[in-house]
Point group: C2
Chain length 272, copies 2
């Protein structure tokens, strides 16, 4: 059973336009890992501010460069339309705190057609792993210390075989598979998928214990509108070299359709 969450995704990503193209928002203390707001959550806040700037409302692509981690508290968002096109529009959004830039992101918006089917998907990974019920919910304390507060808000489940890192026995595969649900059982939409692609713990935990793995860049593509219900997630590490790691993330809806995919480049400090 999932405890009632104190926050809602719509609530923690709320933006208010105070001047044309200028918004206020808030980094909620509950949506943090080690006191730092989750990067995908911040990208969704930026996306929400940017989504109303043109006639295209569905985010298709988002790329964010993470400059500094803001503290929980008030945020400022500046939005600038780069191009309004017939089938797609591009919008830049910058997240600041106390006039200091924290995240620079560019979004491509367009229209996601409801109930599309893939024309060809042989190049994409197939969903695999345990069902929702067979996965174990991960909470803040389970990840050690006081734990990431965000894990106590969302319904994040990892399949038992991929949880060896919690016992000091990572599998070495660098893959975390499981499911994700929003607080209160809220359904995902295109915007909240920007959070979904960055929700899981670092896949490097399944290789070696590391500390904070700060994201430098995160790019997400939203491919389809998700069906209601929790989404299936595969978060994987690919190459660790020269103090950096890239991770890929795939998100499928409950009907096994690939709805979002992402890559990120992050810094990593190895205990060698």
């Amino acid at each position: 059973m999932i405890e009632p969450a104190a926050t809602t995704f719509a609530g923690v990503t709320r933006v208010e336009e105070i001047l044309p193209g200028r918004f206020t928002a808030e980094a909620h203390p509950e949506w943090t890992v080690g006191g730092k707001p989750n990067g995908g959550y911040l990208l969704a806040v930026l996306g929400r501010a940017a989504a109303g700037a043109t006639g295209h409302h569905d985010v298709l692509a988002a790329s964010g460069h993470f400059l500094r981690s803001p503290k929980p508290g008030p945020l400022e968002v500046a939005v600038e339309v780069l191009r309004t096109g017939r089938s797609a529009s591009q919008v830049r959004a910058r997240l600041q705190q106390d006039d200091t830039p924290c995240v620079e992101a560019v979004f491509t918006f367009g229209t996601l057609t409801a109930d599309t089917e893939p024309y060809w998907n042989a190049g994409a990974p197939a969903p695999e792993g345990s069902g929702y019920a067979a996965c174990e919910r991960v909470t803040g304390p389970a990840l050690g210390g006081t734990g990431p507060a965000i894990m106590d808000q969302v319904d994040l489940r990892i399949q038992p075989e991929d949880l060896g890192f919690g016992r000091g026995a990572p599998s070495g595969a660098g893959v975390l598979r499981g499911w994700l649900g929003l607080p209160g059982g809220a359904d995902f939409d295109a915007l909240s998928l920007l959070y979904a692609v960055d929700a899981f713990p670092p896949a490097t935990l399944d290789i070696t214990p590391t500390g904070w793995v700060p994201t430098l860049e995160l790019t997400a593509y939203v491919r389809a509108l998700p069906a209601p219900g929790p989404v299936r997630v595969r978060h994987e590490a690919r190459l660790i070299e020269d103090g950096r790691v890239d991770e890929a993330c795939y998100v499928w809806d409950g009907r096994d359709r690939l709805v979002a995919q992402a890559t990120q480049l992050a810094g990593i400090r190895l205990e060698v």
Copy 2:
């Protein structure tokens, strides 16, 4: 044998700072496909302008949103430093033509250590396919019509099994493997790898004939400084749905080290 090229990569990506943060450049007519400048080439031009803006000169991550295709001819580039940090800096660059925005890109710069070895690379694809000599050089005319002019500049080779599309017999795998060399046998560096990840024809050609596949977003990560000589490339399609396709590209140097990786989201018009 490769014919002597009329252009050099250093020459076609040359930028000149005319005011602080303002550059002129030129989209060379030889570096086009169907008359439109190659996207990775434009990203490299932007990267060259941005690379001198901070104390960090190696591009680690680049994400470009493609608004409009510029015509061959003069370009304007505006560069703004977003953050100068200890180990990494971020710079935004915008490419315009006749005051019309064409490409918006954000770069993360840092330092690539020479001769690093992977700490862990089990999650990355392994280099595979034919050697340089066994691959066939692809020229403009080979791709039909007057062909992409850029293919007559660079030394782009695709292995025979992946060239079925030229005979109307795509393999269906959605993968093009081969090699890439710069004009005049020039060596790659971090910046020219931004071109390498977008140099190959659309991998969708190995699935179904399509026309122009315009890139909406391209994100590249440079992971290591490449060894001298041509680089090995794997360009693959992943999911085609709702009028869009995502492609992944991997680039290895001659020592089989993964030196760059990229994803792009592009529009695609299918003949159905």
